[in-house]
Symmetry: C2
Subunit: 527 residues, 2 copies
């Protein structure tokens, strides 16, 4: 979900990163409101190896407001389509539910669909989510994002209807009425895929919802879940690493009280411009930790940033080891004391350790000489609006179990910020009213079918997803070592066995849905 | 569905009836557009015996637009509630999905729910449909019905969301979170009940959708279905009756060419004011036949009008018999010739026969001295707007199999009329895109559960409903002698065995859903 826009485009060896001052509000009132880093929303690194995929780019005229009947404008919805492998008239249609970002980027990062489509004789379609990428109403992003009255139609139900209308039209145009549609999606796109299967069973026969935190609403899961999982991801590598991070916030806060201290922080963390407050630094660090947990893949990847395999392991290794200049004695001393709330010599050492660690995330290639904060380089603030309207996901960080600064979710101040920033009042019950969530195992035990909720337990979003089978055909695939929708990514030579197996299971389940569909088709039409 | 507003309030022995000039367009372009008589939308006769039911009337503030996030007005949704029999905290909630009319009238005409609620220890709730009765936005019906921009929020999806929000709120207020909700509805209300179960499985555990023509859209059923069923209802009583009616249109048309002829028609049919055209008469007759088919109950009833049991039988008896003045020889002659396209002596006799027949419908008590046409006495044109936007139900009458004037559905002229009358362009695919309908047996064979589609085959709306089981728990209850949602009505001493059995089956199925729910509840929460 587009809370953070990362770009790793190298500009004169300066890495521009998004300012993350909106991520975690710590123990004082949030400057803005809490946002939650879905890496799927991040811009891909342009240096990242591109998948060799082929598609046509098309546009479909969509109604801006599907739920009222007075005249509303249309807007062009972009979609990518590939029919090369499609068994004309009978092969399935694989539809990726575009989420909060450029659809080309999602297509590039969902290699799984492209890899399995030929085996299935499937058409592949990637429709873009309204208000993102090139699918913006009112002629321009500027106009579309002007205020709540133009942004008002940016929501999940309108987006699902877009998909429904588009598929219905495609089926007609391609004489594909009898073709089963299978939905795919990761992160917010996974939520859309699951919800679409539930709301439009006549349009799609099943959904693979990868890392889809459909339960991250209201009081369904404890608000500490997300940051606890991030924290545990560090703790399981090294409790000293966890403790260094946990202790670092106070050091940062205390240093940041003076201009000299800010200068020191700026220098220690290699920012190109002097920090104006500690908040930017805090958010920068918190983003790194959260994203690291999400992309804690077992092999080297370049999803958000070029990273080694098991990046948290490497981050912790460096934090624990400390900068090259740390004396052996100091390290030994720290090793002994790390569990006794030791803050390092005058607080300097701990910050250098932290820098060494997050440098893995922000600068693994070592090409950056300094870091620049950039608020929202691509103007993709769409998710902010969604978070301020229906995607209200309460999150706290626990003083006890989290390595983040303690924070208790405060709905009132969240609401105030949304009113201030967008002129909208959030509707925190909207999602659970429309799509459910409370007691989902009860509601769907005898209702619905053909949904896979796949989750890796390293992914902090897994805590808000479905981690137990609901019924025979609404199932949960959990991998202990998986991170954020790793299953949707293209296969690599380094895929561990469990990932190969997970994907095989998914293929088998999807095959089951499809053959079941064809069989039922025969039964029904022979009736 | 509110196409006709009937009132049988006696005013100086003049029965005011709705002008039905909008019903059937015959072989020339419709004056307005085709509307379809759902009797459920008719105003109840005030002289009709009232059920002895008790409830509190309350209002709930609903958001006018649930699907956009800029500021929209609220409106008061009326609902009737009875908790006398409710087993506090655990008993089920029986929710009637209010349709296009005053909710008090639906409560009065849905005796079934009131009768079974005590046995179930159920709370009973009748929420009113937005834009009907007292649940109008913008402060007044006049404002709400002003134009497409104020009417734009009158649609099924907004209405379902209203129900969802209301139930969620009631559950909280009554500490009824664990209480299963069972939906009921007849006609359009039945469609809403079925759709609500499909879209909001987390809110309701099952739905009894009585006489719900959810398939009366696009090309799912042949457009001739409705009028064919009406016609067959007459034919099965008497083929001569069917033929008299079929022949009457030409006679009416030819008489109506002159002012004297219109005078004669006015006199023959006892209108208080002189007819201005034959169209009013035609629509008046067509309405009568269609409504007669719908309320062709096996016992005397006063649903729309005071009627004898098997009213079509009585209508045909009178049509066949002819007016008291008809000579025996003439009757014998007609009896012999009726199948040979005999039009009666100079066309007079056939009209008198028709009058005798429809008099059963419009004036069974014999109290009316003349009939008055009244366009829309209660200003309830809401259904017209719904029919012009999403409830687009194509209907034709076949030259061959129907007794009605032949008419071929013409979408273009329908669309033109809607543009002219409401400034809206219909969206004929809206309902099938949102709720499905095509291949419903395929789509729902392995999806969803706990829906009863109950239909009586005498009801012309049965042709657009689900008449075969879809799965083990999405079932169809068909009664050969049933008419429009007879099962939802209060029981009477004259109920035939099949009706008693039908209701018992429904109760048993609902009991099954509820005990299944409690069982699953236990399983899920013991997990």
């Amino acid at each position: 979900m587009a809370t953070k826009i990362f770009t790793t485009t190298l500009i004169s060896l300066i890495i521009i990163i998004s300012s993350s001052h909106q991520l975690l509000a710590l123990n004082h009132t949030p400057k803005f409101f809490r946002k939650f880093p879905f890496p799927s929303s991040a811009k891909s690194s342009q240096s990242q190896p591109q998948l060799d995929i082929h598609y046509e780019t098309k546009f479909f005229q969509q109604r801006l407001n599907h739920f009222s009947f007075f005249k509303t404008p249309m807007f062009p919805q972009r979609y990518l389509i590939n029919t090369e492998n499609w068994v004309v008239g009978s092969g399935p249609i694989f539809l990726y539910c575009g989420n909060e970002g450029d659809i080309v980027w999602f297509a590039q990062n969902t290699g799984f669909i492209w890899e399995i489509a030929p085996k299935f004789g499937a058409m592949v379609v990637f429709p873009e989510h309204r208000y993102y990428g090139e699918s913006v109403p009112f002629g321009s992003k500027e106009e579309a994002y002007k205020n709540a009255s133009t942004l008002g139609y940016l929501n999940a139900q309108q987006a699902l209807f877009d998909f429904a209308v588009l598929v219905t039209d495609l089926k007609r145009n391609y004489s594909a009425n009898a073709c089963p549609v299978v939905l795919f999606g990761g992160s917010y796109g996974g939520m859309l895929a699951a919800w679409m299967r539930l709301k439009y069973p006549h349009i799609a026969i099943g959904a693979l919802a990868s890392s889809a935190p459909i339960l991250q609403f209201e009081d369904i899961v404890p608000p500490e879940t997300f940051y606890d999982i991030v924290s545990n991801g560090f703790k399981r590598e090294s409790s000293s690493c966890f403790n260094y991070i946990k202790q670092s916030w106070d050091v940062i806060e205390s240093k940041g009280q003076t201009s000299d201290g800010l200068e020191l922080l700026t220098k220690t963390f290699r920012f190109c411009q002097k920090l104006k407050s500690t908040e930017d630094l805090r958010d920068w660090l918190e983003s790194a930790y959260s994203y690291l947990a999400m992309v804690n893949y077992p092999y080297p990847s370049e999803f958000l940033m070029p990273l080694p395999g098991h990046p948290i392991k490497e981050v912790c290794r460096r934090i624990d080891k400390g900068p090259a200049g740390t004396s052996i004695l100091e390290r030994i001393f720290e090793g002994v004391n790390v569990n006794y709330n030791y803050k390092g010599p005058a607080g300097t050492s701990i910050l250098e350790r932290i820098y060494e660690g997050v440098n893995v995330y922000y600068n693994y290639t070592g090409e950056a000489k300094c870091f620049e904060l950039d608020d929202d380089p691509h103007g993709l603030s769409g998710w902010n609006f969604q978070a301020c309207t229906e995607m209200v996901m309460p999150m706290s960080s626990s003083r006890k179990s989290s390595m983040f600064p303690p924070y208790e979710y405060n709905y009132s101040s969240f609401q105030e910020d949304c009113l201030k920033n967008f002129g909208v009042k959030p509707r925190p019950k909207q999602i659970t009213t429309v799509f459910g969530g409370h007691n989902i195992h009860l509601a769907l035990r005898k209702f619905g079918s053909n949904i896979i909720f796949s989750n890796g337990l390293l992914d902090p979003w897994s805590g808000g997803s479905v981690l137990q089978n609901i019924s025979e055909s609404i199932v949960s695939l959990v991998t202990e070592e998986g991170a954020h929708h790793i299953d949707l990514r293209a296969s690599t030579e380094n895929d561990p066995d469990w990932l190969v197996e997970q994907r095989a299971t998914e293929v088998k389940l999807i095959q089951g849905w499809i053959s079941d569909y064809y069989q039922n088709y025969k039964v029904v039409f022979d009736m």
